[in-house]
Symmetry: C2
Subunit: 113 residues, 2 copies
């Protein structure tokens, strides 16, 4: 987590999600994906080290929580917290902009639901 | 401009604005700032080389256009195009999230108007 750059809510939010990957992980969770391998399978091809890093930062920021997949497994499920769920309007606004302004984009992976 | 990672409108939009600075420049223009020096004065302290780079990328993407400040000046004004203006709902959604979820953020620089 970097130091706050200003008290602007846009700047502070970008300190959390202002990169090319974080909102895609949030998108995937909003679409129901829960497991590390599922995020890796998304078409953008996130690398496992970037994914690990973003999941850790999102957990630290209280947007994501992880739980054991089952009582006899070390595998983890990752889910949005209520704070993470509250990003849906941001995802929708971005998806809507992309659909209108960028030719060839499609709704299947838009998180716009 | 990087190659498209997928046809997801969120991913494609992040290819344009997925970093810590670009949306702050768009925010400043949405708030009425037009000149290079004005962007530099924003509280986040963008560096002039990052600012130059982002203005160039935004111009290439058709989100920003520059015009001479006056007929006898080399100074440029930067303004949002219609495509750039259409980012306002994204700025608003992000500002709203920050105001609700990040303590101590304030509306003065929110671009939420």
């Amino acid at each position: 987590m970097t130091e706050r750059r200003s008290d602007c809510p846009i700047a502070c939010t970008l300190d959390l999600i202002g990169d090319r990957w974080t909102l895609l992980v949030i998108r995937d969770m909003a679409l129901g994906k829960q497991r590390f391998e599922e995020f890796l399978q998304s078409p953008e091809g996130i690398s496992s080290n970037i994914l690990s890093n973003r999941l850790k930062l999102l957990e630290q920021a209280g947007l994501v929580e992880k739980q054991p997949y089952s009582s006899h497994s070390r595998r983890m499920n990752y889910c949005l917290t209520e704070k993470g769920e509250s990003f849906r309007p941001v995802l929708k606004a971005i998806a809507r902009w992309g659909l209108r302004q960028i030719p060839g984009t499609g709704t299947e992976a838009a998180g716009d639901r």
